[in-house]
Amino acid sequence: MSFRNIAQIAGSAMTAQSVRLNTIASNLANANTAASSEEKAYHARKPVFATVFDRSAATDDQITGASVQVLDVVQSTEPLRKVYEPDNPLANEAGEVFYPNVNSVAEMTDMMSASRAFETNVEVLSRVKSMQQSLLKMGEE
C-alpha cells in the first residue's frame, strides 16, 4: 500500500503552504516600512511552486505520486510607492521616501487561500490515517 507516500505528498504540500504563509506574513509586516532608496526598500516576496513526480520510489506497476516543492522565493518587480515626506528622517535629498510594493488586499486573499490549502492537506492526512487504522483492524472483528 502507498500510505507512506501519501503522507509525504500531503506533508510536502503543507511545507509549501507554510512557506507561502511565511512570505505573506513578512509582506504584511513590512507593508509600511519606509526606506531612503529603491534598493533599500522592501520588495514583496512570493514563493514559486513546482511539482515533483516521485519516480525513484515507484516501480513500473505503481502510480507515481506528485509532491510539491518550493523552487524559489522571488521578489516582486512592481514599482515601489514613492512618497514626498520631507520631515521623515529617512527622506533623501529630494525629500522622498520609498514604501514597499505590497498590496495588502492581495496579500490577505492570498493568506486565506494558503490557509485553506493547508487545511485541505491536514484533512487528507487525517482521512488517510483513519483508512490505515481500519486496514490494520482487518479480520479482527
Partner: protein
C-alpha cells in the same frame, strides 16, 4: 477442499488495492492545488477493475502486471496558470474514494468473518 483466499475474497481485494492507489493520485491533486501548470490526474476505476478481473487467467492483478492508466481530468473552467485542479471536485472525489475504500474493507471483513465461522464451526 482447499480454501483459496484470493478466490474467497473475490473482487474486493482488487478493489481495495485500486482504491488505495487512487487515494495517492487524489492526494497528489490536492497537494498541487496551487502549483502553476499542474494537471490533475485520475484513474478510470471501472475500466481498471475490469482489466484486473480479466487478468485472472494469468493469476495476477492488473496492479502487478502493469499500472492502471492514469488519465488527465478535464476541468470545468480553465485557469490562467494552467493548473487544472478544482478544489471542490477533488475534495468530493477524495471523500467518495475514502468511503468506497471503507466499503471494500467492510466486505472483506464480512467474508473473513464467514470463513472464520466455517473453519470454527
Amino acid at each position: 477442499m482447499a480454501i483459496h483466499f484470493d478466490k474467497a475474497l473475490g473482487v474486493h481485494t482488487d478493489a481495495l488495492k485500486l482504491r488505495g492507489e487512487r487515494t495517492k493520485l487524489l492526494a497528489s491533486n490536492l497537494a498541487n492545488e496551487n502549483t502553476p501548470g499542474y494537471q490533475a490526474r485520475d484513474i478510470d476505476f471501472a475500466a481498471s477493475l475490469s482489466s484486473a478481473l480479466h487478468d485472472d487467467s494469468v493469476g495476477g492483478l492488473s496492479l502487478e502486471t502493469g499500472s492502471p492508466e492514469t488519465l488527465y481530468r478535464v476541468p470545468n473552467h480553465t485557469s490562467q496558470d494552467g493548473n487544472t485542479v478544482e478544489l471542490g471536485v477533488e475534495q468530493a472525489a477524495f471523500s467518495q474514494n475514502v468511503s468506497d475504500f471503507q466499503t471494500s474493507l467492510t466486505f472483506i471483513n464480512m467474508k473473513l468473518r464467514g470463513l472464520k465461522q466455517a473453519i470454527e464451526g
